[in-house]
Subunit: 144 residues, 2 copies
Amino acid sequence: MSLSSRFAVGIHILTLLEINKNGVNSSDFIASSVNTNPVVIRKIMGMLKNAGLVKVRPGIAGTMPAKELSEISLLDVYKAVNIVQDQELFGMHENPNPACPVGRNIQETITPFFSVAQLALEKALGNVTIQDVVLGILEKEQIK
Amino acid sequence: MSLSSRFAVGIHILTLLEINKNGVNSSDFIASSVNTNPVVIRKIMGMLKNAGLVKVRPGIAGTMPAKELSEISLLDVYKAVNIVQDQELFGMHENPNPACPVGRNIQETITPFFSVAQLALEKALGNVTIQDVVLGILEKEQIK
DNA sequence: TAACATGTAACAGACTTTGTTACGGGAGTA
DNA sequence: TACTCCCGTAACAAAGTCTGTTACATGTTA
């Protein structure tokens, strides 16, 4: 089981905006780079827009980043595309038995441990920016 | 989107083995505490058994931990129940366009960043043991 | 043998993701 | 205005996973 690829696609989109900054970034163009349907791109783009990461306008081809790419972290993208509700990375079993000492306490007991792990994950994602990804791409291109 | 609750159920099972160590931990009994079907418990138990965390034998009622609970970390359970394949927490979009500089490099560029985040998550899970969960349950019971 | 427990296959329902088609509405140009 | 291009979004389908359930084979004990 993997988390939705919307996260990876969101990163792809933002990275492409920079690499192709001299071109026109329509949903069709981006879709061809990601290799998916333009509607999929528009949906994800809408999420990035709601999160204030990109500027898109109906009818006008081309999307622009709303911030410096060095100020957009992977965590920003992760939260924008909404693949995991806040503090719900790990699924919990519903309605454990309240007549059992374990059943009636397990959820509130493990929730803090789960939170610590999620925060560690998010912190790591917060340490990387789209700019880092762009530089990684450029490096790989230069070597070739 | 949340990861499978098998993880939380696995923790529940191991914790219950300790809290109910003077009783007989059949799959039926455990299922009633978790509030699910005994077959669900047996499946998860099979995973815990394969990972060397518990001892179960066909035909014999009652499961025992295979180790000290202070030596079973949440990470051990996480890996045992197999909710995430190794290094595949974040889904990647398949077949990005190789004719695009971003498409042909994005996956190997973001993979290391994803790995760092996953390892941070796993490290956090490795710092907590089932014994910690048991103590948490007992504390909550004493307060009441 | 009878009673009970685990192991496992098979299947169904619910849910999410991903991909499509279709269409409404904004923007620019002839 | 007419035309064209593009984004926004609803609606739907296919595929996959999780979760629960039934059924049955196998193992253990009295």
